[in-house]
Symmetry: C2
Subunit: 340 residues, 2 copies
């Protein structure tokens, strides 16, 4: 009897923390069952298409995992988590029009498969669906959840605008770049963790810590992405190595290199940026070489690592037992180590 | 003392109903003061531009007026009303890209003045700002307000998609057209009135009646617009008379005419639709003539009038004293009579 009681108390606190794979399964199962089967089909087909293309579902999984370390009942977080994923996919859909991207997750982008108008309007509808899902939660928490989400959603737009400005700008500082990726990428990761904490009934202070945890690891993930696009292994990374170099994309690596002290190497880099005729392999090798001589690889890895450490420090300050944090922490650590 | 008390009781109930011009002044004053002064300017300038172009502010004024017949304190409706106007302007902004419209309220559209990317992203930000404003209300009412707004916002997207489908479709029925304008135009009018009723603490039944009032007059307004584009007086209407005829736009008039029984006139109409070379005046006169012979003018006016009557009937069922309804009713009646 006594033993039973202990088990009863411990079970929800320790054993019900969700792992990434459990969260992922929950999201995959539910996202394809969203009742997006309405008419007109021209509006809803592209949405189903986009949501069926998969991806790692990082944001909703983080929301579920964050919630599960504070509370064992998923009811209040499942729909907001799905909403965060729908919102993220909406931003990709509209970004792909603006960037004129042809492929997304190895499939044709919506504006290619259909056309720009379909992509604009389906994206708009996706944002509304995201809000619908986010609103399906504990009514008393809705004002707080919405205020976090509204602020974040607007920041993501600001980040995308800064990103587009960047591509036209001649000079950009590392600080400006870091602030851009904070807005474009990190705040949605941060919000996912914060909203999970809110629905888990975490204290205001813990919600704030979870947000800062997310903002830091989110920035770290983007720096890691920039790094892997140059130094990743082709098969593991899944994208073409060097694509950022070929498109002169202003990543952390390129901006750091352009701001480096070695004038000769900077000049050499600028020549490659200006050059119109080259073999792709030739340019990738040459620019990678310049980066390596400038130790940009080490700098990038170190900067990402600093963000990860800072993020984990905030996580460690969250006022729940360490044992509850294991699954979420180990997922984040695994992400930090990824080479793809 | 006794007299004071009576005045104190009567004032909020009868004298504080807002008129259209009072509501309009309130909206104009506040919409330009929205703190949309943030960076990046590329994102926020187009939003300020769009909101400064004016317009009748019908939706927010209806929300304010609806609220004021139930409650004297505007606090809970002012921001949602502004949100409804921002949302409406967001839909115009994105529709203008999709329709490739060059002018809006006699000014260059955003995608012309800037470019498509700016128009897409600023529109996205506007939708989020709309949600932010709509969320600034009585917390206990937020779930209901959001559920009305989310449903409506998605329906507006559906309406826009049906509208685009229509332009490609060869045959369309009057019923399909009426359902399209219900979604594209009427439901947002309906929601504005319903949300005003909700923040005014109206009963569920009265909220529903206000919604149906709005849905019917909203449909009537669109039919009237279609009518005035052909039969309006140039100076009063403010748009070019006959523009729908020149662009073969599938309006209530054209669809009714194509579905008319007089085969000879229908054939004549179809020839005009197919014709490539003509003087604008010639085509406008010829098609208007066909419409008039078919009595499409009378049919359109009658159909609009039926919607108006039905709407006013729902309004009359709202369980508040008739005196409270005067200002809103007289505004709607004035709109019904407008010739511009």
């Amino acid at each position: 009897m006594f033993l039973n009681k202990i088990i009863f108390v411990l079970l929800p606190i320790i054993f019900l923390m969700l792992s990434y794979s459990e969260s992922y399964a929950l999201i995959e199962k539910n996202i394809l069952q969203l009742s997006i089967n309405s008419t007109p089909v021209e509006l809803y087909e592209p949405i189903k298409y986009v949501l069926s293309l998969g991806g790692k579902r990082i944001r909703p999984c983080l929301a579920l995992m964050a919630h599960s370390i504070f509370s064992e009942d998923n009811t209040d977080i499942l729909f907001p988590a799905l909403g965060l994923e729908v919102f993220h996919n909406f931003t990709l859909l509209h970004d792909d029009i603006m960037d004129n991207a042809l492929k997304r997750r190895n499939h044709d982008t919506v504006h290619v498969k259909w056309n720009d108008n379909v992509a604009i309007l389906s994206g708009d509808a996706m944002m509304i669906i995201a809000y619908k899902l986010i609103s399906k939660t504990n009514k008393s928490l809705l004002p707080l959840i919405l205020s976090i989400f509204n602020k974040t959603a607007l920041e993501v737009c600001e980040g995308q605008q800064y990103d587009m400005n960047f591509e036209k700008q001649h000079v950009a500082s590392v600080k400006e770049y870091l602030d851009m990726i904070r807005l474009k990428t990190a705040v949605l990761i941060a919000s996912s963790l914060a909203i999970g904490a809110v629905t888990g009934m975490a204290s205001e202070e813990d919600v704030e810590k979870m947000y800062l945890f997310g903002q830091n690891i989110g920035t770290g993930f983007q720096l890691q992405d920039d790094y892997l696009d140059v130094y990743g292994e082709q098969e593991k990374f899944g994208k073409n190595i060097g694509s950022d170099i070929l498109s002169n994309k202003k990543t952390f690596l390129l901006i750091s290199a352009l701001n480096a002290k070695d004038r000769i190497l900077v000049e050499e880099l600028k020549q490659w940026l200006a050059r119109k005729n080259y073999e792709p392999e030739e340019k990738i090798n040459a620019v990678t070489n310049i980066y390596s001589k400038m130790k940009i690889d080490t700098i990038t890895k170190k900067t990402a690592q600093d963000y990860f450490s800072k993020g984990l420090e905030f996580f460690s300050q969250v006022s729940i037992p360490n044992a509850n944090k294991n699954k979420l922490r180990s997922f984040v650590e695994k992400m930090m180590m990824r080479e793809y």
